[in-house]
Symmetry: C2
Subunit: 412 residues, 2 copies
């Protein structure tokens, strides 16, 4: 008998029938003798619908405190409906809002951080065989105000609950059946990974694999919560995200990620003197625009080219901000490009294998794909290429590192 | 400067534009120097939408605790949106859920009774010039569970808050501009009443005038909260519901109410012995069916006819219940009729005027309307007539007691 925290996202609870399906899935775990805590998101589309009403009144930036009151009502609907559906199946269940658990957070409305979780109510319910059905995405601050954790917050809620309860596993039940070596929509014989490490998953999540929110992965890694990504709609083991993997499993590269949501900006010909980076990035940061990759090439003429990437949605604002300030850092030229793709290879195996980068660059060169930017970490290498080469690059790298499903390739 | 509690129903906050309209209305009161506490319902249709989802899962009787979690999310949406709209107008505002106020209730989910209201948070907000925007219809029980007060509960929330805060007035802002001498859809020259007493309003509300929920009127009367019904959408004084009226205002009959939501059941030829009423009504009560009028005629033959009315929605169940038990009270016949109307005259002036009943019966007789049942209280007389005579009966009584708008009749 294990204690399992299960999180069901918006698509999994997309309508009444699906909520009933989730109830049946939870019931099977109870029948198997497990204790289950369920965390749910709002019905898919509901958060957007509420947000649209909020923006209709409050404009681009509706009042944060009230926006959280508004948005958190979405999860409230789901916990009530799922609890009803469980009781209909004869499974004792009880809905719990963020403040009923309680999930204590700071007061950063819209992006609150969990500070601690009371487990007393949850444990009392579990002791009585009750399935607590917890509203994800929400918590309560010290003043008793509702807070929300930001998009992807339900994953974080689930992981945090699993950590607080010392659960045996945290299942993220979603509409895909695991983490793949590459996006299966692009690579037909992409392989589902049985295991990945937290570090790899964190890179994959950050790099555009939408399966898990990076914050929840980080949280799970920090508190050593075994995390499993699996399908709500079909049976299967999914992908276990774990501390260290069996060596048998260990490939050099675990997966290829890609992201199309970035844009790059180049500030060319600025004096190569200390402080120029902060002069350029300072105004960007003050506009709350996040910067991802940063690259600085020193030229021979005492001038340098400074390139960085931002999210595409921030591209126009970032570009305009710099153009307004161009004089201040006496740049020769400021240019931008939002038709770029970031393609990355990720794997803890890289640590112990030299020459991975070379293999990557060679494979891209063989396809005549020009690399615009490179960024590396201990377990990943990312390159920026023109958007139109994205699929080709993913395919080339998937083949180069032999990530395809050999059984599938052989059998099908 | 007064302290005013304003309640806006579902139609008044029916969409984003209307919510913005409500915000402008509240802002005008603030500009005039008043302190305002706002209580709102869910956006019209929202409670029904949520209820439909609940019933889709939970059937006729969804789990009461979870149903309250589900339904209360509707008001949560409105308080957030209205608070945003007020802030957009530069009016400081803050949403408060039932448990944030807190509105303490018993644990009768779906029909909870308010036990006490903490005023500390509200007063602190008012002291700082903030408009508290409170979710109507909801409270919190001793276990921290969300409770709801039942349909019409937002009126009760508003009155209870006004009582707890010793507010100068509680405004029920709705889609009609006051209480009328009769339904203006039937009687074209029906007159808006400037004042009615709580007792009269209670009878009018109970008898089918949908303007106010009887429970809120009773509550207002008990705690002596001056209550005003007025329009959200147009200017005007509305109708003040008060303890005692100026004598000048005092008519014998204040208004004519009608209700089409009842059905009658007759158990004919039962032995006229003690206990027969409870034998008949006991099983009805145990099915949670409310009985309204009860009438027993004693015959000369030691047998009696027993007639009572129930809500039409309970008619079939009530009839079936009695037919199953007919043998037990050896009735000659059990019959029912759901094509009936209840028409009532209401007025505190009746107390001091004899002959009001006679005038009523004469007026109906003059129109050849047969009276099937009669029931009286100190300030009202109700008759049951065939449904098809309802409009005719209301019109005849409106004329008999000279309730028409004399100015309107003269000027128009």
């Amino acid at each position: 008998m294990a204690l399992i925290v299960q999180k069901y996202g918006g698509t999994s609870v997309g309508d009444v029938e699906r909520i009933q399906g989730v109830a049946r899935r939870v019931a099977r775990y109870k029948e198997a003798g497990h204790d289950v805590v369920v965390v749910v998101s709002a019905i898919s589309g509901e958060t957007n619908r509420l947000m649209a009403m909020g923006q209709q009144i409050g404009g681009d930036k509706p009042l944060p405190r009230e926006l959280d009151v508004l948005l958190s009502s979405g999860e409230q609907v789901t916990i009530a409906l799922l609890s009803m559906a469980l009781m209909q199946l004869g499974v004792s269940a009880k809905s719990l809002l963020g403040d009923q658990v309680a999930v204590h957070t700071d007061s950063a409305f819209g992006k609150a951080r969990i500070e601690r979780i009371d487990t007393q109510t949850l444990k009392a319910d579990l002791d009585q065989g009750v399935v607590p059905v917890v509203a994800g995405f929400q918590g309560v601050n010290g003043d008793g105000d509702i807070t929300t954790l930001g998009r992807g917050g339900s994953d974080t809620s689930a992981v945090a609950l699993a950590a607080a309860l010392h659960a045996d596993e945290c299942e993220i039940c979603t509409d895909v059946d695991g983490v793949y070596t590459a996006d299966p929509r692009i690579i037909k014989d992409a392989r589902r990974l049985d295991q990945v490490t937290f570090e790899e998953m964190l890179e994959l999540a950050s790099l555009g694999s939408k399966v898990l929110h990076p914050r929840s992965v980080e949280f799970a890694g920090r508190y050593k919560v075994p995390l499993r990504v699996l399908s709500t709609f079909q049976e299967g083991p999914g992908t276990l995200i774990t501390m260290e993997m069996d060596n048998m499993e260990q490939a050099i590269v675990s997966g290829i990620a890609h992201a199309l949501d970035e844009a790059k900006i180049t500030v060319a010909g600025v004096p190569d003197i200390p402080g120029v980076a902060s002069k350029i990035l300072g105004p960007i940061g003050r506009k709350n625009i996040e910067v991802d990759m940063i690259l600085q090439n020193t030229g021979a003429d005492g001038l340098t080219d400074f390139t960085f990437t931002v999210k595409r949605q921030d591209f126009a604002e970032a570009l305009a901000t710099l153009e307004n300030m161009a004089k201040e850092f006496s740049a020769r030229e400021i240019s931008g490009d939002d038709a770029i793709a970031k393609v990355s290879i990720v794997g803890v195996g890289m640590r112990s294998h030299a020459g991975v980068a070379t293999r990557m660059f060679d494979a891209l060169a063989a396809e005549n794909i020009n690399i615009q930017m490179i960024s590396t970490s201990e377990i990943k290498i990312s390159v920026v290429v023109a958007e139109r080469y994205m699929e080709l690059a993913v395919r080339a790298l998937h083949a180069e590192f032999e990530l395809h499903d050999q059984e599938q390739s052989a059998n099908v």
